[in-house]
Symmetry: C2
Subunit: 429 residues, 2 copies
Amino acid sequence: MRTRPLKVALLGCGVVGSEVARIMTTHAGDLAARIGAPVELAGVAVRRPAKVREGIPQELITTDAKGLVSRDDIDVVVEVIGGIEPARTLITTAFEHGASVVSANKALLAEDGATLYAAAEKHGRDLYFEAAVAGAIPLIRPLRESLAGDKVNRVLGIVNGTTNFILDKMDTSGAGYSEALDEATALGYAEADPTADVEAFDAAAKAAILAGIAFHTRVRLDDVYREGMTEVTAADFASAKQMGCTIKLLAICERAADGRSVTARVHPAMIPLSHPLASVREAYNAVFVEAEAAGRLMFYGPGAGGAPTASAVLGDLVAVCRNKLAEATGPGESVYTQLPVSSMGEVVTRYHISLDVADKPGVLAQVATVFAEHGVSIDTVRQTGKDGEASLVVVTHRAPDAALSGTVAALRKLDTVRGVASIMRVEGE
Amino acid sequence: MRTRPLKVALLGCGVVGSEVARIMTTHAGDLAARIGAPVELAGVAVRRPAKVREGIPQELITTDAKGLVSRDDIDVVVEVIGGIEPARTLITTAFEHGASVVSANKALLAEDGATLYAAAEKHGRDLYFEAAVAGAIPLIRPLRESLAGDKVNRVLGIVNGTTNFILDKMDTSGAGYSEALDEATALGYAEADPTADVEAFDAAAKAAILAGIAFHTRVRLDDVYREGMTEVTAADFASAKQMGCTIKLLAICERAADGRSVTARVHPAMIPLSHPLASVREAYNAVFVEAEAAGRLMFYGPGAGGAPTASAVLGDLVAVCRNKLAEATGPGESVYTQLPVSSMGEVVTRYHISLDVADKPGVLAQVATVFAEHGVSIDTVRQTGKDGEASLVVVTHRAPDAALSGTVAALRKLDTVRGVASIMRVEGE
Ligand SMILES: NC(=O)c1ccc[n+]([C@@H]2O[C@H](COP(=O)([O-])OP(=O)(O)OC[C@H]3O[C@@H](n4cnc5c(N)ncnc54)[C@H](OP(=O)(O)O)[C@@H]3O)[C@@H](O)[C@H]2O)c1
Ligand SMILES: NC(=O)c1ccc[n+]([C@@H]2O[C@H](COP(=O)([O-])OP(=O)(O)OC[C@H]3O[C@@H](n4cnc5c(N)ncnc54)[C@H](OP(=O)(O)O)[C@@H]3O)[C@@H](O)[C@H]2O)c1
């Protein structure tokens, strides 16, 4: 074992960073044995230097992150600040000065992963980011390495704990969205500004990262169709229950049937209660991966939190340190398929549509004609009505999303359709 | 990309090997892009050279496996023959001649992994074996790499598809063991000689491999406590149901509470229906991993079969080829903790005991005294009886297995205990 330590610069010492520092200190012996050399915390960059940070020597704290990553003695930079800047500049600077980088920054990776990968490659260094998707759950490494000899066709998962907690509450207690959000906030599952979670920006970033790795092509945040879950109502859950379903916010990355393109999307969807994702409760995450040879795999665990996320960061830290000692690098960006990302209109899915209609003869025939004109075939229809008012619940067969949304637009124009009460996609067979 | 191909020798071309060869041929372009060089099948060793093997050029087939692995132009040897010899000699010979090795051979790894690791290390080569445990499910790589910065405390899983299929049938149809085994055989889930599966030798080998990697110490097949599932009866399932449980054959690897030793065991156990492992149906596998920082992770998927197992083999093939090109090696054996493996007597567990007793006053008091004398405290007792015959079902709190089995031995000696109808451990909280 080498006795000269590898030097680690920690950028950020918040929820995740403080746990990374704690484990590096308390488990130093194990890390050294697994790496083949001790690792030493060489500096910790923060915004507020005066804040007391238990277990971290004051002399390591700095507000000069740029200076820290520019030191030529740093072997690995761990970036757990988050956001686009200064994180991006700090990471590229770190590569320029010869360090490898471990990051948990999904926003940056989805926004501009290509720049980071290019800098890593140019300087012959590693860029690892297991923690960026689904916290502690090993997903990036299984996709990048374990399935490197297989062909992934589909990734389907719950990748945001906050929204899963809210939807689970709505499902089990019958609460509305804002009531469930309040509970999530009170319990620390939702941030003061929950936009990134509930509007699915966070899940969309993860979908971009997963799709890129799964299909060996470049997928950016802008390529991901995104629908948040703030419009999901207690009535939607009631409809879902009648169909033997529940509602989850799903990230779905798919290879088109002809294999010539891929899609990535995030939206609420009904899934059958018998589907394993239906029973993912509270803030847990779970991801299904369907591959040609492997079949269907599922990965489940805590998708966030300081310690779980730090576990993923430290796994990456051990890997890049080993690579550094071996003067090698792990797998870099793999985008050789150059598959284009199709728009949402081309995604093949099913709709659950709930309409308020006039309760008179011929309405169903009129509605059915609209579906037929758009080439959408109907799986089931349920009609209930009283006092001149009626509701019609239609579940379609699989069709391109453009045809489905075209159908809905045309339905809205029918005189006999008083309103569209809810539209929700149905996934998971 | 390098144009000179990496040469692969395939040892065995049965259920797994034929799929490995097929995917290497049909997905050659993807493999080359991911590795950075083409891979070429340089030879295929089998027992019966005359057998027609679709897609494999006859000139590659040989019965001289020893000669094949001794060729100095071979970069990687894929061993999918199985068994101890000649597999062991072929693998060590491959290392001597400069090849890295990918193997699916759990029996050999559990029996004598140390010899293989030592040969790999001596010659600076890789030994990878993702396929040896739970088929397509990434488990070895997550444990060895993703959790390399964490402390694993427990691995609990269903790692044998054949026995899970049988137990699932018994559970859902009320069938007895032999009826369910017949169905498994007819459907191709059980081999003609099912001993390795039903007597849990296969699961014990996997438990040894998982425990060794999880706890960074050496665990051999002989260190694993093993109980098969041939004695599980329909009556046991009925008892389990009354407790809100089902019965699974579990592989359990644990770090002792004081951290000074580890245990590994395989036996049938009752688990609550609410536990995620309870809903693992048919021949699927699933493994729970509990780590200090990561929390509880679960990995689920097809645990066997030609294509799923080949997926794992090919993921390893890509990794060792990349390492070869980079003139590096992946993680080798990690046994630095040198934690001893304790015997079953020291395992802390709970028993479900069903006794046939005389239906007379004082029996319960007598039985309860025996438990108390052995330091075992009782969680619940259920007494049913008629016509002088009665049965007593006792579920204990957690206690060392030695105390629990001591209790059972003492109960058998009581005059009032006519027989012990069933004993089953209870796991999963
Ligand atoms: N929290 C999770 O569960 C989780 C899960 C997965 C991934 N992640 C990702 O991990 C990253 C960090 O998340 P977090 O929850 O740990 O965030 P956090 O608690 O807000 O911590 C951010 C840290 O960065 C420091 N910082 C902010 N701006 C800085 C600047 N310009 N220069 C130097 N330091 C600066 C802060 O300093 P002060 O301490 O002085 O304020 C703080 O220590 C994000 O990319 C996030 O997406 C988090
Ligand atoms: N099958 C699964 O689902 C599965 C899952 C996980 C792991 N594994 C492991 O994968 C390995 C292979 O399993 P399998 O199911 O593919 O076995 P299999 O179908 O019995 O195939 C064994 C192959 O090895 C060849 N062979 C046997 N003895 C040989 C010798 N002395 N020299 C050269 N070739 C020899 C056989 O040749 P012939 O074709 O001429 O008979 C056959 O091609 C085993 O270690 C097993 O534990 C299997």
